[in-house]
């Protein structure tokens, strides 16, 4: 008689695994990756591959040195690396994503205990680290390339020419719509909304096209990887504050669409603010979290010194997550409310 397996119930499970979830996220990022290459050429893909490679490499190296079991198979480092790359302008030198990914993985994720234990979204923290360390690289946005005139390899050429590459790039630097958004109603009204939505405009690799991110985000919601409450509340809150700001400036509607489609709002709301480890575990907690993200984003955009506030907002709310989780729990089915002042 063969031996039977004896284990606790349940004896069946669904098919979803950690690596499966991460692969779904990678699939969902494909439209954004595609648009980044279309808009900025193959150097964008090069940066993305470097960033993913550096993230996975850093995780393996850390586990090797710390004599821990390798964890690259869960694919979460790949997601971190790719998200970080999508947060970079195409004009950055090749070592920027490598350093950023390594920082994100080692200092934000692995030192806190690896997957599920990080206090902040590693890609967000990595981006902010790069923003502080290389402010000029990180805020130089360039115009979309022209494929007809060999533009596909333009930034490769810059790199090959040596350190002067960036100067060439800087020469074609363009302001992102957001940096001047708050200046006036007229400016906001003149923005090319359709271009912003489709993504054929200056910006970070993955942020330019709201449409591409929206497709990926919708995929994640349909596949039930992310909770729709986060993007809806986050984006809704930003829209609401744009409305209020606009109303104060005399034109309620002028700032709404530029606020939604400019900058990293969509990428942040669908892919960065939905990191499991750094978001609350209850449905209402998620709503509070996302509202906080939207509020802080709006405040920084309209009143702060930085043109973009999405990553700071998410980082700050990541830090608030344990507090939200402490304060908001779902009410258990049939839970008896604590009696105060006798029965009603």
């Amino acid at each position: 008689m063969g031996k039977f397996i004896v284990s606790s119930s349940p004896h069946v499970a669904n098919k979803r695994t950690v690596s499966g979830i991460m692969l779904e996220v990678l699939i969902a990022l494909c439209p954004a990756v595609f648009v980044s290459v279309y808009v900025f050429g193959f150097y964008a893909l090069f940066l993305e591959i470097l960033s993913v490679g550096a993230a996975v490499g850093a995780e393996c190296l850390f586990n090797l040195i710390m004599k821990k079991e390798q964890t690259y198979k869960d694919c979460s480092a790949m997601v971190t690396g790719l998200l970080l790359a999508l947060n970079l302008p195409v004009s950055v030198p090749f070592y920027v994503p490598i350093i950023g990914s390594a920082f994100a993985i080692i200092f934000v994720k692995m030192l806190f205990g690896g997957i599920g234990k990080n206090f902040a979204n590693p890609a967000i923290a990595g981006r902010i680290f790069l923003l502080l360390a290389w402010a000029s690289f990180m805020t130089s946005f360039v115009e979309p390339i022209n494929w007809d005139r060999g533009g596909a390899f333009k930034y490769f050429a810059c790199i090959l020419e040596g350190q002067n590459g960036l100067k060439d790039v800087a020469a074609i630097t363009t302001a992102t719509p957001l940096s001047a958004l708050r200046s006036s109603v007229q400016y906001a009204k003149d923005l090319p909304i359709w271009k912003m939505f489709l993504g054929y405009i200056g910006g970070s690799l993955g942020e330019t096209s709201a449409l591409a991110v929206l497709i990926g985000g919708a995929y994640l919601i349909v596949r039930r990887i992310i909770d729709w409450r986060i993007p809806l509340t986050f984006i809704g809150t930003v829209a609401l504050f744009a409305l209020i700001y606009g109303a104060a400036k005399g034109n309620a509607g002028a700032f709404i669409l530029p606020s939604l489609f400019g900058g990293g709002l969509f990428l942040g709301a669908f892919f960065m603010a939905t990191d499991y480890a750094t978001t609350p575990n209850s449905k209402w907690g998620l709503v509070v979290f996302a509202f906080g993200c939207g509020l802080i984003t709006s405040l920084i955009r309209f009143f702060g010194n930085y043109p973009e506030g999405v990553s700071f907002a998410i980082l700050l709310m990541n830090i608030c997550t344990p507090l939200i989780d402490k304060a908001i729990h779902p009410r258990p089915f049939g839970a008896v409310k604590a009696k105060k002042g006798g029965a009603k």
Partner: protein, 430 residues
């Protein structure tokens, strides 16, 4: 809108394996080994001795307290020995081993002179009837609620995958079930009953509806696990929420399994005590799946031989795959609560399918918990041995239904953690 509860999961049903097999008699082996503890509560006290001649229906174990149940011989023959053996749920109790003479002579309870609440309650108690959905709580205790009750709920949800014995029973014995429901209503003094069944069994719903009297509603429920969990079922059918730590009777309801109603019919109308039941044999790792009338005390070994258990069998489960008990060997015997025995191969079970990793905080467990708990936090409280925290997270409300472990992408043994949490809370007495 389908009647249902909130959250829960959708495991693969796998009911097609056995659903079309009509109930037939399971060939009882030469020897049966009947456990004296087939129910929740005190084990029955031995009422025969080695050498006693018994018939099918002879009392062999007498209820030892109010929360206990009589145990009857399932065959005619001679008591061969009394042995302490392990039951399918892993505890040890005395088993009465009876040599089966193959005649199946019956001993019945005297017919009832009148059908009153008291006489039916007494009969249910005499006949040793327990909850036959698998929980095995003595039915007579449920029939004596401390608070007024206005509705009887009959659980025919059969939400566990694979199991089809209740489905077959509803198809084949609808009149008998309705009669049993009538007796239960008389016993409880209620004028309404609701039968709840998942909508993947429309023909069985129709079968019951065809013979249901006006005051018995047969309702179709959304097919979702755990639709047959008592509190979830009451909510789905009546909208009532049983408070934490309270009983269904506190919201005016009593829930009994549909097979229990059938057993009540047999006891009241035929004088037949509880020693036989409908049971499903299923799983890809057996060649003869189906639904059978099985007498209590058949060893799993005999069931495996009859079922044609294949060498590829990786797991033998008593009950369903969500809440059933994995067996280490085939020594235990069937009882009143054995609704199914499954022989599962490697493809059917989840063991080893998913790599176990750290919790990634995806909150899937919380978003599927039918009790709306937060299993990942309870697991952490257990690891910190913080009984107070576990209690504050309502660990005691856990049904152990398995939804959390079912959905966990990191394959964490969450149900096991819930059990540890309950044990911790009891031990520390917080």
């Amino acid at each position: 809108m389908k009647l249902s509860f909130k959250r829960g999961v959708h495991p693969v049903g796998n009911k097609a394996i056995s659903k079309d097999a009509a109930l037939t008699d399971f060939p009882t082996p030469q020897e049966v080994s009947i456990p004296l503890s087939q129910h929740i509560g005190a084990p029955a006290a031995l009422a025969v001795e080695v050498g006693s001649a018994v018939k099918a229906g002879t009392l062999i174990g007498k209820a030892a307290s109010f929360v206990s149940a009589n145990v009857f011989s399932s065959v005619s023959g001679v008591v061969k020995s009394i042995e302490k053996k392990r039951t399918a749920i892993g505890s040890f109790c005395d088993h009465v081993v009876i040599e089966n003479d193959g005649l199946y002579e019956e001993e019945t309870l005297p017919s009832l002179s009148e059908l009153s609440s008291e006489s039916i309650k007494n009969r249910v108690r005499e006949a040793g009837i327990v909850g036959m959905g698998g929980a095995t709580f003595p039915t007579h205790v449920k029939l004596s609620p401390k608070t007024p009750v206005d509705v009887l709920i009959i659980n025919a949800a059969e939400c566990e995958p694979y199991i089809t014995c209740d489905y077959r029973l509803c198809l084949e014995k609808p009149r008998e079930i309705m009669e049993g429901i009538g007796y239960l209503m008389t016993a409880l003094g209620v004028s309404n009953a609701i039968v709840g069944m998942e909508d993947n069994k429309e023909d069985a719903i129709a079968s019951l509806q065809a013979v249901a009297p006006e005051n018995v509603r047969v309702c179709s429920l959304k097919t979702k696990y755990p639709q047959g969990a008592e509190k979830q079922l009451i909510f789905a059918l009546t909208g009532r929420v049983v408070p934490e730590g309270a009983l269904p009777s506190d919201v005016g309801a009593v829930v009994d399994n549909v097979h229990t109603a059938f057993a009540v019919y047999e006891a009241v109308a035929l004088g037949k005590p509880s020693y036989m039941r409908a049971m499903t044999i299923s799983g890809q790792a057996c060649t003869h799946p189906g639904n059978f009338w099985v007498r209590n005390g058949v060893t799993y070994q005999a069931v495996a031989e009859f079922a044609g258990m294949l060498p590829e069998t990786m797991k033998v489960i008593s009950g369903g795959p969500m809440m059933g008990f994995a067996q280490a060997d085939l020594l235990p015997s069937t009882g009143k609560g054995t609704s199914s025995i499954l022989f599962l191969n490697d493809d059917e079970i989840s063991d080893g399918d998913k790599p176990i990793s750290a919790c990634i905080n995806c909150a899937s467990c919380a978003s599927h918990c039918p009790m709306h708990l937060m299993p990942m936090f309870i697991e952490r409280a257990v690891e910190e041995e913080d009984a107070l925290k576990a209690k504050g997270l309502h660990a005691m409300s856990c049904l152990e239904c398995g939804c959390c472990s079912f959905v966990c992408p990191a394959s964490r043994p969450l149900v096991q953690s819930m059990r540890r949490a309950k044990k911790l809370i009891r031990e520390k007495g917080v």
